[in-house]
């Protein structure tokens, strides 16, 4: 693992996989396309709706539980196949998924994110899709989320982990 990847693991971020192969910037466009499909699904299944999130947390509809539950089952089957068959990516690399290490941040941070999720009706993904769907005021919510991330980074060493 490279130094960069080490640092990313240590600091507990989700995306740690890094390709050794240098690729031109436009090779990233495929992720833009996947992101677009993802955003369309978010809007069409009303996952970006504040009302749907209220329904979920009030246990008055199955919709969001169905979405998340199905996504986890499909993801789980896919990941198990990829790991057991030692599948390589289209770029020829062996697919590696790093384990997540427990720290208390998952409890404190998780609770805090939950409070924010219910208020805004959005986790980070839907924030982007809400802006795209024309709710321009959500740009303020997004900037505030960037600020929240920055403040975490600033005071990280003083927080329990």
């Amino acid at each position: 693992m490279t130094k960069h990847a080490d640092q990313m693991v240590e600091t507990g971020t989700a995306c740690v996989n890094e390709s050794a192969v240098q690729k031109p910037w436009y090779s990233n466009l495929k992720y833009l396309v996947v992101g677009m499909i993802f955003g369309i699904v978010f809007v069409k299944a009303e996952i970006i709706s504040w009302f749907r999130i209220q329904e979920m947390f009030r246990f008055e509809s199955f919709h969001m539980f169905g979405v998340i539950g199905t996504a986890v089952v499909v993801g789980m089957i896919s990941v198990q196949i990829i790991k057991r068959k030692k599948v390589k990516s289209f770029e020829g690399e062996l697919i590696v998924i790093h384990d997540k290490e427990f720290n208390k941040g998952q409890i404190y941070g998780g609770l805090i994110f939950g409070l924010g999720w219910a208020l805004t009706g959005a986790c980070p993904g839907p924030l982007f899709a809400q802006i795209g769907a024309g709710f321009t005021v959500v740009i303020v919510t997004f900037l505030s989320a960037v600020l929240g991330t920055w403040v975490y980074g600033k005071f990280k060493d003083k927080l329990p982990h």
């Binding site: 809007v43 609770l111 960037v146």
Partner: protein, 187 residues
């Protein structure tokens, strides 16, 4: 066909698509699904301020930024070209509860009573949009992931820390929904 696409999509269609994002990203370039990291990369790119947490080569993670820009564009496409002309249909109980607490407009994805430029500078607007956003950014980074990184990617990979994080997301959301929001709507 188009008729069907413009209707709201059922949960199992959305769930399959979102679940398939996990292997798609792994196969395309060995990338693990996660969205809240994009907020960190934006900090690293725009406001690093010599904070070690933001001193890394964010350009190597730029695929994540392409992904979220795509998500935003997907929101544009779905709204401009595949839009459902009808009001959103939510559970009667939720609607009744929100009406009792002063939500009037049920026509869009977000209640304009709370999320609009006009209400931004009201106390309610500040709490729902500004404080809410801050808690999302601060909480996800402290937890090391959000609904995608922990609840979907982490659980797919059978990671128990992700299960703890996901339970905490739900507990936080339930507490805010049952105790915080009814009070905040009365402000």
């Amino acid at each position: 066909m188009f008729e069907w696409i413009s209707q709201p999509w059922p949960w199992y269609v959305a769930g399959v698509f979102i679940g398939l994002t996990v292997p798609t990203l792994l196969l395309l370039g060995n990338k693990t699904f996660g969205i809240s990291s994009s907020l960190r990369h934006i900090c690293a790119a725009c406001i690093p301020a010599k904070i070690p947490f933001f001193q890394y080569d964010w350009k190597k993670e730029s695929w994540n930024l392409f992904f979220v820009v795509g998500t935003l564009l997907g929101g544009v496409v779905a709204t401009q070209f595949l839009s459902n002309p009808n009001d959103i249909v939510i559970a009667d109980a939720t609607r009744a509860h929100l009406q009792e607490n002063g939500i009037i407009d049920f026509s869009g994805m977000l209640p304009s009573d709370l999320f609009s430029w006009e209400s931004l500078l009201s106390l309610r607007g500040l709490v729902f949009m500004v404080l809410g956003g801050f808690l999302v950014g601060f909480g996800t980074r402290w937890a090391g992931g959000c609904t995608s990184g922990h609840a979907i990617m982490g659980l797919s990979n059978l990671q128990w820390p992700s299960l703890i994080a996901t339970c905490c997301f739900m507990i936080g959301g339930i507490l805010m929904t049952w105790f915080g929001i009814p009070f905040l709507l009365s402000l």
